[in-house]
């Protein structure tokens, strides 16, 4: 059983990983056909993965409601929102609009989901402002440099800033194009090396945390 439960998954990872990496270097139609099939499969599997991600939320809130834990009323709201959306969505065949006419599903999307999600992130504007006033301090020389660059870019990227300080536009352009680009490039190279190392470790079974869950 250990073979089936531990070894075999590692073999699958090794074979698929090496295979798909090798595919990149092989232009032959046979190899291209393999890539087409496998990515098509991943597309469908991706749908199942999405379901998997969503269901844990399902579970957490069901438990909350059953045990009537503190704030279970909110979990009921969550369930109501979810079931309502599903019902409306199935009714509309999963389409927000049919021939340009908005369905009930589209209504839920436009008048509930869009404002809710949009506003959740819009409140951050207020918190940035308050943090700007209360805690963006030049505690060290590094932080001072950061804030100076931030102020230049903030001014250089809006019409008012360019109007008051005509140079700020060019300077912020230079910061972004040269200084920022060089740092981002170094980070990109570093992170990519890390990602390649991690992928290689996964393929060769040195890194197995992704197998996680499931009892032995």
């Amino acid at each position: 059983m250990i073979l089936l439960r531990r070894q075999l998954p590692l073999v699958i990872t090794l074979v698929t990983g090496l295979g798909m990496a090798a595919q990149y270097y092989v232009p032959h139609p046979a190899s291209e056909g393999l890539l087409t099939s496998v990515t098509k499969w991943l597309q469908i599997i991706g749908g199942f993965a999405l379901v998997l991600g969503v269901t844990s939320l399902f579970h957490v809130h069901a438990v909350k409601i059953r045990r009537q834990e503190a704030g279970w009323g909110y979990s009921v709201v969550l369930y109501a929102g979810m079931l309502g959306t599903i019902a409306v969505g199935l009714w509309a065949n999963g389409k927000e609009s049919i021939d340009g006419v908005m369905t009930a599903f589209g209504w839920v999307y436009s008048y509930m989901m869009v404002p809710l999600q949009g506003t959740m992130f819009a409140i951050l504007a207020f918190f940035i402002a308050s943090a700007a006033y209360r805690s963006f301090r030049a505690r060290s020389r590094e932080a001072a440099v950061l804030l100076a660059a931030a102020v230049i870019v903030m001014m250089g990227r809006v019409p008012l800033g360019e109007y008051i300080l005509p140079l700020s536009g060019d300077v912020s352009q230079w910061i972004l194009n040269v200084l920022n680009a060089s740092v981002r490039r170094a980070i990109l190279i570093g992170v990519s090396l890390g990602a390649v190392a991690l992928s290689l470790k996964i393929i060769f079974g040195v890194e197995r945390s992704y197998l996680g869950g499931g009892k032995e």
Binding site: A21, W41, V77, K95, T119, L179, V183, I202
Partner: protein, 250 residues
């Protein structure tokens, strides 16, 4: 104005104001809106997944076009769902092994070519330019991205930041100077990111307020104004009630 747009304006405005009430403090009105948000977006994802995956990518191709090969990913996908059956949950490992294996394999050569080779290639630039007829020259123009001086600055930036994230040698002596340079480059880039993030967040606020302004129009029945009053009223009532009840530790 169609009826559903008017109702929609009222609902959208109400939910927007409920979320904004978090600015006053964390409160039940906000929590209701927050949970509704999670519920609706999960419901939306489920519907879309059902329609796209089950109907258009699985059912139709298999049943109508007899693409039997597609049963393989369906099988792998089902294996993934065994996670919820404690006795068979180990089967889900096969699915994860497949996805992670393919994903890693696809990523390795593409990352090398797009993010390492391409970026190294562009950083290695001749510091001098050859102008036909004039000979070799060095360009000092800071505003031209391709100038010699900018090529040098980029080279210094890339190298010093790479060195900063180098953990095999102690940052002493000349290493310290290089690492310090790297830190300052990093801070400038963070500053730029900071400025841009501020810009992004402010844009979101502008977007929401634009909607609220639109919905304060008489053709919608001025939901913004009315619901603002209602939300403030709710906050006051809830605040009073919370004061009367003993505070709970959660």
């Amino acid at each position: 104005m169609p009826f559903e747009s008017i109702v929609g304006a009222w609902v959208a405005t109400g939910l927007t104001l409920f979320i904004f009430s978090f600015l006053y403090k964390d409160n039940p009105v906000f929590k209701v809106a927050e949970h509704l948000y999670v519920g609706v977006s999960v419901g939306y994802t489920i519907v879309k997944t059902y329609d796209t995956v089950i109907v258009h990518l699985i059912w139709k191709p298999i049943v109508e076009n007899h693409e039997w090969m597609l049963l393989i990913p369906v099988f792998i996908g089902l294996l993934m769902l065994t996670r919820y059956v404690p006795k068979a949950s180990w089967l889900s490992r096969y699915a994860f092994a497949f996805i992670v294996g393919v994903g890693s394999g696809l990523a390795i050569p593409r990352t090398i070519s797009s993010f390492i080779l391409k970026q190294v290639e562009d950083t290695i630039r001749p510091l001098l330019t050859l102008v036909p007829g004039e000979g070799v020259s060095f360009t000092w123009n800071l505003l031209s991205p391709a100038s010699g001086v900018n090529a040098i600055i980029i080279l210094i930036g890339v190298c010093s930041v790479l060195f900063y994230f180098f953990f095999s040698v102690e940052h002493t002596g000349p290493g310290k100077a290089v690492a310090r340079t790297g830190v300052f480059f990093l801070m400038i880039a963070f500053g730029a990111a900071f400025g841009y993030t501020v810009m992004a967040r402010m844009s979101l606020l502008i977007g929401r307020l634009t909607d609220l302004i639109e919905f304060s129009d008489a053709s919608y029945g001025r939901p913004t104004l009315w619901l603002l009053v209602v939300t403030i009223g709710l906050l006051i009532v809830l605040g009073r009630r919370a004061q009367r009840e003993p505070p709970q530790e959660s």
